[in-house]
Symmetry: C2
Subunit: 441 residues, 2 copies
């Protein structure tokens, strides 16, 4: 049996969260429960199903790539995000940000950059990550990832017999010198031909909360391009923008799609689930050829198309403004919850523990002194669990990569699903655990 797929950590974390009622989970990437748009979804579904004509369309099979109207709307939505982000970053005074192409130039290239024909609707953006990896990589291939990165994606790589190489992160994205060093080293060892892509969680990265600056996106694409000749094939950038619309501070950054001349190398993965309702899983990808066609065929084999009912729900929420209003509401909500968590961290966590304050997304990334392990078998983790509080051990987010020791002194804590009270209480419990152990150690 080809069963090399291990238990994904997220499964038992989710299960632990759902099956232990007294546990406060700061681990699961669930979204905020009380702000789920129940009335809005009901309204939208009643509109979808209001007549046989509209309703039958939602209850019948569609085509594999997705509903044409939704693909059009999604392409426009994405174009609008990028266009607004480009405008705001152009007018920004930050001299560190390399300029995206100007608005006038962008206008000419827009039609090419966001064609609905290369837009694929998927069951959450997770499915796009999986299928893109399936399309691009053969067993034994290497995928470059942020170090640390989204642990479910590491599970995908492991289950497909792929290797990950981690590239160090700093506050505004990958360390470019390290990326170049990794590519050089792979080249020297004759392994560059196994490198098919770089996976980048570019907005409020899971787990660290880092957002990749536009300048870094451009520099990354330039670097990858330089190594294509020795690699003998394209090296793609898979940009996972799942958290992009959950920004509650600062300004949006244009996607890698807007980097001039890069459209043929960027695979953009987005989603309507996290910013609306995670129980209605609709994600999407904009992919260059020939990747689009390959992934579409794989989608045909997996499930020949995402449930039309969910797609029509998305069409309805996008066109009615329900979606936009919900995103705005969520942004406020998460801003508040992030603030609650920050205050709790400041109040309850002992000195010597650091965190990056996120501008969006669902996570704080907390760094303990290096000597203190947070791993699944560590005293911190076990004591926390005994005190009914759960976090994601940082070590789970690091690829198996023999070129460096896997850090295990970090934790991902989420303000996504926990209530304000639970955030305060969870951080209080965790702080007590840490204080004891750090004092002892």
């Amino acid at each position: 049996m080809g069963q090399r797929t291990l238990e994904p950590p997220i499964s038992w974390l989710m299960h632990a969260a759902l099956s232990r009622p007294k546990l406060i989970s700061l681990a699961a990437g669930f979204t905020d429960n009380v702000s789920l748009p129940v009335a809005e979804a009901r309204l939208a579904l009643n509109r979808v199903l209001r007549s046989p004509r509209t309703g039958r369309k939602a209850l019948q099979y569609g085509i594999t790539a997705g509903d044409p109207t939704l693909r059009q709307l999604t392409a426009e939505h994405l174009q609008k995000l990028d266009s607004q982000a480009s405008a705001s970053s152009s007018s920004s005074s930050s001299s560190l940000v390399l300029e995206p192409k100007s608005r006038t130039r962008m206008k000419d290239e827009d039609e090419k950059a966001y064609p609905p024909e290369r837009l694929l609707i998927t069951s959450g953006s997770q499915q796009l990550l999986y299928m893109t990896t399936e399309a691009l990589c053969d067993e034994g291939d290497i995928v470059l990832v942020e170090d640390p990165t989204y642990f479910v994606y590491l599970g995908i790589l492991q289950s497909r017999g792929l290797r990950a190489r981690g590239v160090r992160l700093e506050r505004d994205g990958l360390e470019l010198a390290h990326l170049e060093g990794v590519l050089q080293s792979l080249k020297r060892r004759g392994e560059l031909r196994r490198v098919k892509m770089l996976y980048l969680v570019s907005y409020f990265q899971n787990p660290t909360g880092t957002t990749t600056s536009f300048g870094k996106k451009r520099a990354i694409l330039k670097l990858l391009k330089q190594f294509e000749r020795p690699a003998g094939h394209p090296i793609y950038l898979l940009e996972d923008a799942a958290y992009r619309e959950l920004r509650f501070a600062g300004q949006d950054v244009p996607s890698a799609l807007t980097v001039r001349g890069a459209a043929s190398r960027v695979i953009y993965a987005g989603t309507f689930s996290k910013p609306f309702a995670t129980g209605a899983r609709v994600g999407y990808g904009l992919l260059p050829e020939p990747v689009f066609t390959a992934v579409k065929h794989i989608k045909g084999n997996h499930d020949f198309g995402t449930a039309n009912l969910l797609q029509q729900l998305s069409v309805q929420t996008l066109t009615s403004g329900i979606y936009g209003r919900q995103v705005a509401r969520l942004q406020k909500r998460y801003a508040h919850k992030a603030h609650v968590m920050k205050q709790a961290l400041e109040k309850h966590f002992p000195a010597g523990i650091e965190w990056w304050e996120p501008e969006g997304g669902l996570y704080f990334w907390v760094r303990l002194p290096r000597a203190i392990s947070t791993g699944v078998k560590s005293k911190v983790f076990r004591t926390a669990l005994k005190n009914d509080v759960l976090y994601v051990p940082g070590e789970l987010c690091y690829a198996d990569d023999a070129t460096r020791r896997k850090p295990d002194h970090e934790m991902r804590i989420s303000f996504g699903s926990a209530s304000e009270d639970d955030i305060r209480e969870g951080i209080r419990r965790l702080g007590r655990v840490l204080r004891k152990l750090i004092t002892k150690g």
Copy 2:
């Protein structure tokens, strides 16, 4: 790029059906449009979303294996189907049917045979077929299939670098002697260790409409078991029961799960989509360990769980009786449409053309004289398309298998989505094409 996945025939067939308004498609496996339960789905969704408590559950992530209530309901549903089928086949007078285990014996084993803990909810049963194949088979492995079989499944095998070996079909399922011959021949060539499973569309098979008798299921499992020792591992039966509830004549046959001692080798794939609404894709599988766990982990990587909104819709339709009433309505509807197609075939098709009359499902399988090709490049297919009628060429349903010539004189025609008028008109057009070409030839 690992892009060996070819364009699945279903993609372009579906696309042709949706993009050419004058075309009468007897090809696509779409379901009947006018009987789609629009009002019923609206009612059920309003119930799901009637309050924050129930609604939030539907709009939030769930756990990977599926909603516990739905898994419980699904296990009971399946158990009920099998229990009723066993009762009716026990009281049947047909001496050809080997007896399933008696009702009293079944009672003792029921709890073990249908455990919700091994029930996995998927995005349509298609996803279960894909993930099971991913879990069980490594590149180069061999899957035994009916000859002909479901062409999308052949696409899955092709895309995963697997080989198919076809086993001839007769009116009540596989030719057992041929199955044994194929296994013997694989054994002689030392290839038995590459055989991981047999894929069987056991109810109203796609494309032929054949239903596998219970006696054959038992005999097949017995045969597979005999070859496990030389194979060195279990050989599983993947029973695809997607069409099972679309029976409109005759009596249901117990699933392979009811064959005594076979529970550890049977993977049962079912669906709520085809019998209710194909736009709300909810399928399921009952799998033995260790396959269940392996497939669940793969599901975690693909999409970490089927959309909760669709699952809660299924819970609501199952418990309210909406589902059962819709299935009964659909059975009547398809009985009628199958009758319309049969009458049209009798009226418009020339002599020398044969078909099996189905007792359920969506398809007629039509056999032309062997000299007449129906393939994608054939005169028949091209002329039919020119006359705005589309069918599935039989050759697409045959595996690439060097041990026999691929038949290409058959066609699959569906009464699923076409209206009664279109069925009559489509068959009339097809009949005219065939009459001309057969007379000429």
